[in-house]
């Protein structure tokens, strides 16, 4: 079923947005689409309002950071759900860490409010148009975005925990 969903959504998105859909593939049981950053809001709006697909529920979203992907270091993952038909898909979009701006989807799903604040807090992703974009779990005085990969978990002054034994 999931494969047909992948093809179905892919066809519709390709017809509407053409080259903006960078990839469409299955990851385990999930159809995953990579979308160009500038059309992400339009794509989600289209998926929500399309009569057949009608992805009316935003399950979750989270930030991603791949320091090695030059020009596309940061990303956001969205997971949409059509509850009556039980369609689930995942969308991803990537952009440069030097310009971490992406349109908000709080106008489409109210629940995106805190989710976006959380990803702003941890990754420094700026959701343009968000009504109240400030830190949520960390303290306001914090000056960095701790989930980015350049911040190590371990205290840098510790010498007994070297990466050879305890690292990844």
């Amino acid at each position: 079923m999931s494969n047909t969903l992948l093809d179905n959504v892919n066809e519709k998105l390709k017809a509407k947005f053409g080259e903006g859909i960078l990839s469409a593939e299955m990851h385990y049981d999930f159809p995953v689409f990579t979308i160009r950053k500038d059309i992400i809001h339009d794509v989600i709006k289209f998926l929500k309002e399309d009569e057949e697909l009608a992805f009316g529920f935003l399950t979750t979203m989270c930030g991603l950071h791949y320091p090695d992907n030059a020009g596309h270091e940061l990303g956001v993952m969205y997971q949409l759900h059509n509850m009556p038909k039980n369609y689930r898909i995942r969308l991803k979009t990537f952009f440069a860490i030097s310009d971490p701006q992406i349109p908000t989807i709080t106008d489409l799903y109210a629940t995106a409010n805190w989710m976006e604040r959380q990803e702003f807090d941890f990754f420094g992703i700026i959701f343009k148009g968000h009504p109240n974009l400030k830190r949520i779990l960390n303290m306001d005085e914090m000056t960095y975005h701790p989930m980015r990969k350049e911040y190590p978990v371990e205290d840098g002054t510790r010498e007994d925990k070297d990466d050879k034994m305890f690292g990844r």
């Binding site: 385990y28 009316g56 399950t59 989270c62 109210a110 629940t111 805190w114």
Partner: protein, 403 residues
């Protein structure tokens, strides 16, 4: 005369009071802060501050081997940690494509449904306490104690259980555990009925909770509600039915739904879910009896820690033990999302593996965090005492909220 009165009120400038509800307020059952703008007893608007017990689980998880992340999940919704633990194991098993024997799946169902009952006991009895009825809370908590005794027998811990392992359970249910489960199943229905008799048709309780903190189905979906809170609003979404895991598709149970989405409906949905969980446990016990005895894990020596006595006496077991503990087993590259029906909704784990010993990224869909943002919306225009009741009936758990 009336005109004159009007001009008088115009002169008097209306002032609102700012009230800090929390962070440490005995009625909030955890560390929640809400800055409320009050017009007398009425709430005009509010703003939630969260993050008081934030522990950066998602960051810590990026440096921990998969089996060590289980203890982090304990501390999410600590009222039903076994569901979080097993949800995490199932996520990793999905990544590793491990097939779990049927018997283990049924044993897990028993554990998860016991955890669901203990979670709902806490929430519902606390709703009683917040309406002024302490008795029901004291009566039913004895049953929660019995469930924790079962967990203690199964895994050695009571609250933060760290139950199960990737690939199965750490040990089989002991005869004592089965005896405790049988004892619980025999005692619980009468106790739950007694608890319901105290509250369910109690005029004071009904007056207090009906139309208190209601939310419509549309609003609930808009705000990402899941679990009992969404079902109380009238949407029959249950992960156990929609995306069955752990062989839930083989069980007969109904998904209770409410109509108003108010505190009373949330209470009633949880009550009925406890009865359903009870029936699921009974069915699971019957199913376990039909499976080959003694199977408590899948045959995956690369990921399932061998028993200690074998590690000391058997070369192969020692090698596997060493490889697992030092993280030298290859994990496939990939990304998975797996969700389970937690105590308060869809608990999802999103996991990206780049092949290393720890996840490259782990994100937890915490139902509390997502639906708690509707709280200030729900209490607008309500009385302060209703706001307290709304919060306890939403079952907001600080550990899950802040992760």
């Amino acid at each position: 005369m009336s005109k004159e009165k009007n001009t008088n009120t115009d002169i008097i400038e209306k002032e609102y009071t700012t009230l800090n509800l929390g962070p440490t307020h005995p009625a909030t059952h955890g560390i929640f802060q809400n800055v409320l703008k009050m017009d007398g007893e009425l709430i005009v608007e509010g703003e939630s501050t969260v993050g008081y017990i934030h522990r950066a689980f998602e960051k810590i998880a990026e440096r921990r081997p998969y089996y060590q992340i289980t203890v982090l999940t304990d501390r999410l919704n600590y009222c039903s940690s076994p569901i979080n633990n097993l949800g995490w194991h199932m996520t990793v098993e999905k990544l590793l494509k491990i097939e779990i024997p049927k018997r283990v799946q049924y044993l897990r169902v028993i554990i998860m449904e016991l955890a669901r009952i203990s979670d709902h006991i806490i929430c519902n009895s606390v709703i009683g306490v917040d309406t002024g009825a302490m008795t029901g809370f004291l009566y039913i908590f004895q049953q929660r104690e019995s469930i924790y005794d079962i967990f203690e027998e199964l895994c050695g811990a009571r609250l933060t259980t760290n139950i199960g392992r990737i690939g199965g359970l750490e040990r089989d249910f002991s005869p004592k555990a089965w005896a405790l489960i049988d004892k619980f199943l025999a005692e619980f229905p009468a106790k739950l009925k007694e608890f319901e008799n105290l509250l369910m048709r109690n005029r004071i309780f009904m007056d207090r909770t009906i139309k208190c903190g209601p939310i419509s189905a549309e609003m609930a979906l808009e705000y990402g509600f899941t679990g009992p809170n969404l079902r109380a609003a009238g949407v029959d979404y249950d992960v156990r039915v929609m995306n069955p895991y752990c062989s839930y598709e083989e069980f007969e149970f109904t998904v209770p739904v409410g109509t108003q989405g108010d505190t009373y409906d949330r209470f009633m949905v949880r009550e009925e879910e406890m009865w359903q969980s009870l029936s699921i446990i009974k069915q699971a016990i019957e199913k376990v009896k039909k499976e080959p005895a003694g199977v408590y894990h899948a045959d995956v020596p690369e990921f399932f820690l061998p028993p200690k006595e074998e590690v000391y006496n058997n070369m192969e077991a020692l090698i596997y033990h060493f490889k697992i503990v030092m993280g030298e087993t290859d994990v496939p590259v990939g990304e998975v999302y797996h969700c389970v029906e937690g105590g308060n909704g869809e608990l999802g784990y999103y996991l990206i593996s780049d092949g290393g010993r720890a996840p490259s990224r782990m994100h937890i869909r915490r139902p509390c965090f997502i639906y708690y943002q509707a709280y200030t919306e729900m209490i607008k225009g309500a009385l302060l005492s209703d706001a307290i009741l709304t919060m306890s009936s939403m079952n907001v758990i600080a550990g899950e909220l802040d992760a």
